[in-house]
């Protein structure tokens, strides 16, 4: 385990709290609903367990809160004081998103006008097309990455990579903890069923 264990502890704690809240509702849920709730509480626990709130964690939480039925869960899980921070962060994110889009529009306009002035890069024509192909590939992939990382659409490439890095780390932590919990409960349930059979 090269990742920090205090983070794991924090995540586990929050996740268990979330599960508790979920399961305190009396109605019977089928597997899919349960799975969704489990996943949701895990995600929120992950996002809130970070020490320094990054963009994707805020994005995750805000997405979760937008959904009506999950809002109660998230609010309960996070605690009342975090709601104010979240409100601010969501507003900031929306504003930032718009700002980024405006910047992109301006940039595109500038490059169109500037492209006529700049001379083409000298070199072999085949190499030039290779460059273009490479650029296109990279662009495609950054688009995909933007979709994957929560809150990634409103980011430029540079911070996107940073966010992706962070997100990968936390996902690793999340998977580790979840895996151990799941296997433990599976074993326990197996034992229990074996016992009941006897």
């Amino acid at each position: 385990m090269h990742t920090s264990s205090p983070l794991k502890k924090e995540f586990l704690k929050k996740w268990m709290e979330g599960l508790q809240i979920c399961c305190s509702s009396k109605k019977q849920m089928n597997v899919l609903e349960r799975k969704k709730k489990i996943k949701l509480s895990a995600d929120i626990a992950m996002a809130s367990a970070k020490k320094t709130p990054t963009s994707w964690s805020n994005a995750l939480i805000s997405y979760a809160r937008r959904n009506e039925e999950y809002m109660i869960l998230t609010d309960q899980l996070l605690g009342p004081e975090s709601q104010f921070n979240l409100q601010k962060s969501t507003d900031r994110m929306i504003g930032f998103h718009k700002r980024v889009q405006c910047k992109k529009i301006l940039k595109r306009r500038n490059t169109y006008s500037a492209g006529k002035r700049t001379k083409k890069k000298t070199g072999h024509p085949r190499l030039i097309s290779a460059t273009l192909i490479a650029k296109r590939l990279v662009k495609k992939r950054t688009k995909v990455l933007k979709r994957l990382v929560p809150g990634g659409e409103s980011m430029d490439e540079f911070s996107l990579i940073k966010e992706a890095l962070d997100y990968i780390l936390s996902l690793k932590v999340q998977v580790d903890v979840m895996r151990s919990v799941v296997t433990a409960t599976e074993i326990l349930s197996n034992e229990k069923s074996l016992k009941s059979v006897e």
């Binding site: 502890k9 020490k51 990279v138 890095l165 780390l169 580790d176 599976e186």
Partner: protein, 314 residues
């Protein structure tokens, strides 16, 4: 090295050339920490040199990307890039006085001039390069330095736009190196697109794992009492410690009366100690603290667990 100049391709080769050129690099200052987890200091900014005249034949070499940090430089230790995640970023300083028109750089001149002299020696080719300098305010990554020094290579567009582009690309490449180290199996791949591919695969894989695991948990769930989760939450402090003896769990007092029911379940159970899950250090200790907690007095709130009792039960 001659082939270099034909490339307008943004690739890692560019960074490597710079690394080879750098005689002395400076450790990156910990201006803004990268992430809390990684604790990497990616404090870098690149300067674009912008000068109106161009064609004077200089001995100055092809391209330098000068990365400047917030504060003044202290050490001149050379850092091999990719030696560790902390040292991924190249930092170098350069005398602006002779090159640019902007005087507002906070750099020291003396050690830098010697550096540039060394750099000149290293350079094999003599090129006339058009130099431009420009201030680039970099707010997006949150780093403080506005300056970017890049000297344009021969045959490349020296427009400020393309220079800014190039600076941006360099930053991105530095970050990509970090990512390469994080994602397993990415070190051997070269090229931004492939690395991004791997990263996307990795993220998707992890996300799918999360989904799958939560589905598994949902399937298992109805057979286990909810209060079991309470137990888990109580032990969250101790759970992730690999050492058994150091179990300090702040029990939240969630052990209510129904935990007795589970005690009977587990008391005579001999849980199979063999690891069903491969190679996870946490899990062998996972069950045992839980057992100890369950066999514990439910009304008690102490955080100490009796390890001997545990081992006997197992």
């Amino acid at each position: 090295m001659e082939k270099r100049e034909e490339m307008g391709v943004d690739s890692f080769q560019f960074g490597e050339e710079i690394q080879s050129l750098m005689s002395v690099v400076q450790p990156p200052e910990a201006g803004n920490s990268f992430t809390a987890l990684l604790e990497l200091p990616p404090n870098q900014a690149v300067k674009l040199l912008h000068s109106p005249e161009e064609t004077t034949p200089n001995i100055f070499p092809s391209v330098f990307a000068v990365i400047e940090t917030d504060n003044s430089l202290d050490t001149t230790s050379s850092i091999r890039p990719n030696s560790s995640p902390n040292n991924c970023n190249l930092v170098k300083q350069e005398p602006i006085d002779s090159y640019s028109l902007h005087n507002s750089s906070p750099m020291q001149s003396d050690p830098i001039i010697s550096k540039s002299a060394k750099r000149k020696e290293r350079e094999k080719k003599v090129k006339s390069s058009a130099k431009k300098s420009k201030n680039v305010a970099d707010e997006t990554d949150g780093e403080k330095l506005p300056y970017v020094h890049v000297r344009a290579r021969r045959g490349q567009a020296t427009d400020s736009h393309s220079l800014a582009e190039r600076a941006r690309r360099e930053k991105i490449n530095a970050r990509m190196k970090l990512l390469q180290e994080l994602v397993p199996g990415c070190n051997k791949i070269s090229g931004t697109a492939m690395v991004l591919d791997e990263i996307i695969n990795h993220v998707q894989c992890l996300q799918r794992q999360v989904e799958f695991l939560s589905m598994r948990l949902a399937a298992v769930h109805p057979s286990i009492d909810i209060n079991l989760e309470n137990m888990f939450s109580a032990e969250s402090g101790s759970l992730m410690d690999c050492n058994f003896g150091g179990l300090v769990s702040s029990v939240d007092g969630q052990l209510n009366g129904s935990s007795h029911h589970q005690q009977q379940l587990w008391h005579t159970d001999a849980l199979p100690p063999q690891p069903l899950w491969g190679g996870e250090e946490v899990t062998p200790n996972f069950i045992t603290p839980e057992n100890s907690l369950l066999s514990y007095d439910s009304s008690g709130n102490s955080g100490c667990l009796h390890t001997n009792q545990l081992k006997m039960e197992l």
